[in-house]
Symmetry: C2
Amino acid sequence: MRRIEFTNTQVASSETARDINRGVVLNLIRRRQPISRADLARVSGLQRSTVSLITEQLIRERWVVYGHTGRLPRGRRPTFLRLNEQRGILVADLRPTQTTLGVADVNGRLLSQEVMQTPPSPRDTAEHLAARIRHLMQVHRDLVFEGVGISLPGRFDLETQRVVFAPNLKWPDFDFKAAIEQATGMRVELENAANACVLAEVWFGHTEKVRDLVVVTISEGVGTGVFMNGQLARGLHGMAGEFGHVSLDPLGPPCSCGGRGCWEVYASNRAALRYYHESSQASDRLSFQGLLALAEAGDSLALKALDRMAHAIGSGMRMIVASLAPEEIVIVGEFMKHWPRFGPVIEAEVAAGALVGMPPRVRPAAEPGMARLRGTVALVLQKHFGHGVRTAEEERPQAVAL
Amino acid sequence: MRRIEFTNTQVASSETARDINRGVVLNLIRRRQPISRADLARVSGLQRSTVSLITEQLIRERWVVYGHTGRLPRGRRPTFLRLNEQRGILVADLRPTQTTLGVADVNGRLLSQEVMQTPPSPRDTAEHLAARIRHLMQVHRDLVFEGVGISLPGRFDLETQRVVFAPNLKWPDFDFKAAIEQATGMRVELENAANACVLAEVWFGHTEKVRDLVVVTISEGVGTGVFMNGQLARGLHGMAGEFGHVSLDPLGPPCSCGGRGCWEVYASNRAALRYYHESSQASDRLSFQGLLALAEAGDSLALKALDRMAHAIGSGMRMIVASLAPEEIVIVGEFMKHWPRFGPVIEAEVAAGALVGMPPRVRPAAEPGMARLRGTVALVLQKHFGHGVRTAEEERPQAVAL
DNA sequence: CGCATTTAATTTGTGACCCGAACTATACGA
DNA sequence: TCGTATAGTTCGGGTCACAAATTAAATGCG
């Protein structure tokens, strides 16, 4: 019996146009608020009538509210629209030793923030975090919460909904997402910290039209988030972006991932501490904060260690420049406090790696302290604000799968 | 004067749904031809009436023609539809020493094929190639030509419309595209050879639903084409994918790109020849074909050289595995003739580089000899067949730029 | 042969949506 | 007070997908 299987390709219905335009308008409001409907029409290219219908819908959905009335040299006054700040997002940044959590509004503004120790086991972490989240929900009863967004030093597989790779956490297999969802009753979104930083840059940064961007997070380890063609590259099991675990020397020092000589082994905070301890006689364990402070005070061994780290960061980035040719590389990490000093070292390495034309811009994150947490706001809002990606550029030729 | 600039974001009009569905139906016909309208409706999920209207349009546009009538156990017989093979594409694969060109139909089938020497200068190349193309157009007067697609060992910048990086061609700056367009009167599309192979795999291969794929071409140099989230990654100036010029050893042998110790220096055909000449006393210059023949005949030095090459290929791929986590890596090149022998070497290296779960499949191209040329067919058809990418999978969360 | 059954394809009516033009609502200044 | 400029709404028209009804064509059974 010749029977065709049901594949159900993604087709457009009569509502598809509205879906797309709703996303466009909502994102324009987000980026340019407060903004009038007339301006939305001008900027988007949609008709004023269409904009009115769409904004009416957005106001019904409570994403948008009326703001104050504008004032023009002549003519009727525009009614400004802005996002509804009564909608909150619960955000958390999970790190090996401590976890930051808080409440943010839809504009990525943090309304409150607190820090807790990260327990070693994922089960305890989920439990403590969920308790804190429930408490925050009580405190902010005036908000309607959209969900929980968590950034973590690991990779989250969308298929299996599990954290699949987090060498710096050393977690056993555990359904972290479900645990928090059950304990809070909220939808939870997990994402790698570097990917979260990408979202933060793209959503809340000044880089509006960047299509190709790589974020490098330097902390315990080295993480990278890859943004290509205006989308996050996740790869199989969400593992795309592990430049930190590309081996630069098969005989190098062992890495937490099980390999040897990974970029992370040379460019992370830990690496700098190792460099320092190798050269100094001091036997007491120093924290990276301590190392930064020493460098600030002019300690030459500390400066030397950070310089080696900077060279390692830069030379690893050459790999990123050649392989992905991003427009920008954004660096996030405590190390960036010393950017004025070590930035040129990194930039020189990157420039040497550019095969043609100008090397990519290398710069610190727009708001370094906030990047991870803000990114999780975008993570949660993503499914409401964007159906696919649509940048303001003209269409580029693209491949068609299927 | 407060005036909002005209950004004109990409919005949906009332015709957007049709555009999208037209693309879906056209691509379904391409992949499953011959196919009836009833089956198209079943597979796509569109209504039969909608499919009828769309196919009517496609037939008017002469992309689709009626095929023969089907036969079912009972009921009215379906009319099969298929692509119109009267539409041809002029294709060429430009390589440092020789250029292959030909005529293909919309299904990527080559109707004729010929080879010419590649002159050293881009001007002469354009001239000779255009003359051959004009001749082919005369020979195939029965076809309506859609355009010219050319793959080349270099990168093409869509912004400036120039070939920007082709170390193995050593071309001075020259507007190659315009030269051929003027000399033939056809629209010309240029693309990197590895990217062309990606298109060939995705369009004509059996891998229908792969979203993340990397093609590695091994010839004079090593090229890679990156396909992520169902799209070709082009990067700034079209430079994404130059894994071949990531330096593995800053003190290694010099590379044609000006760097040192690039992956290409260890993994290309040239590298294998170098390995061979280093170990053998033979002073006569061998071609890579010759080396392959020696290996086939059991020459141990030739086998050793190819084995070193295979190891180099595999170890460079670990970089790709870690950084992009593709589902598949496809290899194209003369070297693949010996895949049964050296495949396991490469696979073992790649498996060692996988950080979590199964390593990506590594395999030869679907039709190795055709990959580049077929890819250029897709390159030319791209703008007619696909408005953006739509795979059959459910929506994944994605970032929204702007 | 006639008729029920089955499947393909078309026709027709409906609702969603965008567009553009006309219209209403405000504001300012001569 | 009226002309002009700007914001926002209303309404008619066109495109489109959808669903149900209809037509077309083939099979097989009584």
